[in-house]
Amino acid sequence: MSQLNPNSLRDAEQSSFTVLDLIARARGGDAKAIAAIQATARFLGLGLGTIVNIINPDCIYLAGEIATAWDLIEGTVRQALAERALTENAARTPLHVGVTQESFRLRGAAALIAAPSFAAPRVA
C-alpha cells in the first residue's frame, strides 16, 4: 500500500510534457521517445494478456492519447499480448482502437445517470 500513498502523485513535480508531445517526438525519430513508447506498448500488451486470460472478453476497446500512436505500437502490443495469452484464440482477441475524443470520460460520467433507466431489473 505504500505505493498507493495518496499524496505521492500529487506532490510529484508535474511536467508540462504530455503524452501527445511524446508521440510527436517519437514520430520525429527521437530515440528516447520511441523507446518509451515501445516499452509502454510492451507492458500494455502484457497487461492485456493477463486481462484476457482472466476474463476472456469478446473484445478490448482501447482509448486515450495512446490510440493516436496505434500505428507505431500495434505490432509490439499484439506480440506481447500473444506471449502472455494462454491460447491462440485468446491471442487474437479483437482490439478496437479509436475512442480518441477528449470527452470519453465525460460520456462515462453521463452514462452513470442515463444507464440505470435501461438496465435490467433485479429479480430473485
Partner: protein
C-alpha cells in the same frame, strides 16, 4: 446461472413480469428505433394488445415518445416509437489531476455545454466551487428543472455502496465523500464511479444501439494514467471491495511483482520519479523489489 442470495433477494410481486417485459421492450425500442408497435410485437413475440399496454406505460414514464407517422400499404398508419434522450439531461463531471471538466449533455451523451477549470484538491472547497459551477451552468442553459442527475468520474477506487472514494492517488483523496455532499449542495442525485469503469458503461449504454457492443469486453484508456473497466455478461465487474480491475498493480513480468514508474522528461536527461505503480505513459517501467 446465478445462485440466489438468501440474505439479499427480491421476491416477485404481481407487477414483476410486466416490469421485466416493459424493460425488455424499452431496450428493443432503443436498438431498433424508430419502430412501430406492430414491429415491436413481432420482436417480442407477444400480442399487439400487450405491446400497446407496455408502450403506454413507457410513454407515461416519459422514457419513450411517439414520433412521426409512417406510411403503410394498407390499414392504419403506424406511429413510430423513439427513446427520449434529447430532452433528458445530465451533468457529467470528470475530475482529473490537472483539470476538472463539467459537461451538460443529453442521455445519449451529446454535449450541450462544456467547461474546464483547475482541479481543487481541498474537498470542502471542491464541493462548494463545483456546485456553484453546476448551478450556474444549469441556469445559463435554462435546464434547472430538467436535469436528472450528476455523474462524477474520478481516477481512483470508488465504493458504489457508500459512494466513498476509497483511494484516488492522483487527487490525494482517500476515504473521501463527494457523492452525498455534492447531492446536498445541488439538490440533484449524484452517482460517482472510477473513470475507467464509467467509460465501459458508456461503451455499453451510450454507443449507438446498433453498433453491437458485446456482452463481455474490456475498456482501457491509456493517457497520463491507466483506466480499466471490465464488463462480463453485460455487467460491470466491481469485485468484493470495488477494486477489481485495478490494472496498475498487476505484475507486468513474471517474477517481478511490483513495477515502479520512471517519468520521462524532455529538455534533459530522463528524470526518475519512482512514485506510483504501473501507470503506463511517458514512462518506462523499472522493476523494483516488492515491499
Amino acid at each position: 446461472m446465478r445462485k440466489i442470495n438468501t440474505r439479499d433477494f427480491r421476491v416477485a410481486t404481481r407487477t414483476t413480469s410486466r416490469d421485466i417485459n416493459r424493460r425488455i421492450a424499452l431496450n428493443v425500442i432503443r436498438e431498433h428505433q424508430p419502430i412501430s408497435r406492430a414491429d415491436l410485437a413481432r420482436h417480442l413475440s407477444i400480442t399487439r394488445g400487450v405491446v400497446s399496454t407496455l408502450v403506454q406505460e413507457l410513454i407515461d414514464q416519459g422514457v419513450i415518445y411517439e414520433g412521426a407517422t409512417g406510411e403503410t400499404a394498407r390499414g392504419r398508419k403506424p406511429t413510430f416509437l423513439h427513446i427520449r434522450t434529447r430532452d433528458r439531461l445530465a451533468i457529467a463531471v470528470d475530475v482529473r489531476f490537472s483539470k476538472t471538466y463539467v459537461m451538460l449533455c443529453d442521455f445519449s451523451g451529446r454535449q450541450l455545454a462544456l467547461e474546464a477549470h483547475d482541479t481543487i484538491f481541498e474537498v470542502t472547497e471542491f464541493i462548494r466551487d463545483l456546485s456553484l459551477r453546476i448551478r450556474r451552468m444549469m441556469k445559463t442553459h435554462g435546464v434547472k428543472n430538467t436535469c436528472e442527475g450528476i455523474g462524477v468520474v474520478v481516477p481512483g477506487m470508488v465504493d458504489q455502496r457508500t459512494g466513498l472514494i476509497l483511494n484516488a492517488p492522483a487527487l490525494g483523496w482517500r476515504g473521501v465523500d463527494i457523492r452525498d455532499k455534492l447531492a446536498a449542495a445541488t439538490g440533484l442525485p449524484v452517482q460517482i464511479e472510477n473513470s475507467g469503469r464509467a467509460c465501459s458503461l458508456a461503451q455499453l449504454w451510450l454507443e449507438r444501439a446498433d453498433a453491437s457492443v458485446p456482452d463481455s469486453f474490456v475498456f482501457i484508456s491509456v493517457s497520463d494514467g491507466v483506466g480499466v473497466g471490465m464488463v462480463a455478461n453485460g455487467e460491470l465487474v466491481r469485485g468484493h471491495d470495488h477494486i477489481a480491475g485495478e490494472f496498475r498493480t498487476h505484475a507486468a513480468e513474471p517474477g517481478r511483482p511490483t513495477m515502479h514508474v520512471r517519468r520521462f522528461r524532455l529538455l534533459g536527461s530522463i528524470h526518475i520519479k519512482p512514485r506510483y505503480p504501473l501507470a503506463l505513459f511517458w514512462v518506462e517501467f523499472v522493476p523494483t523489489q516488492s515491499k
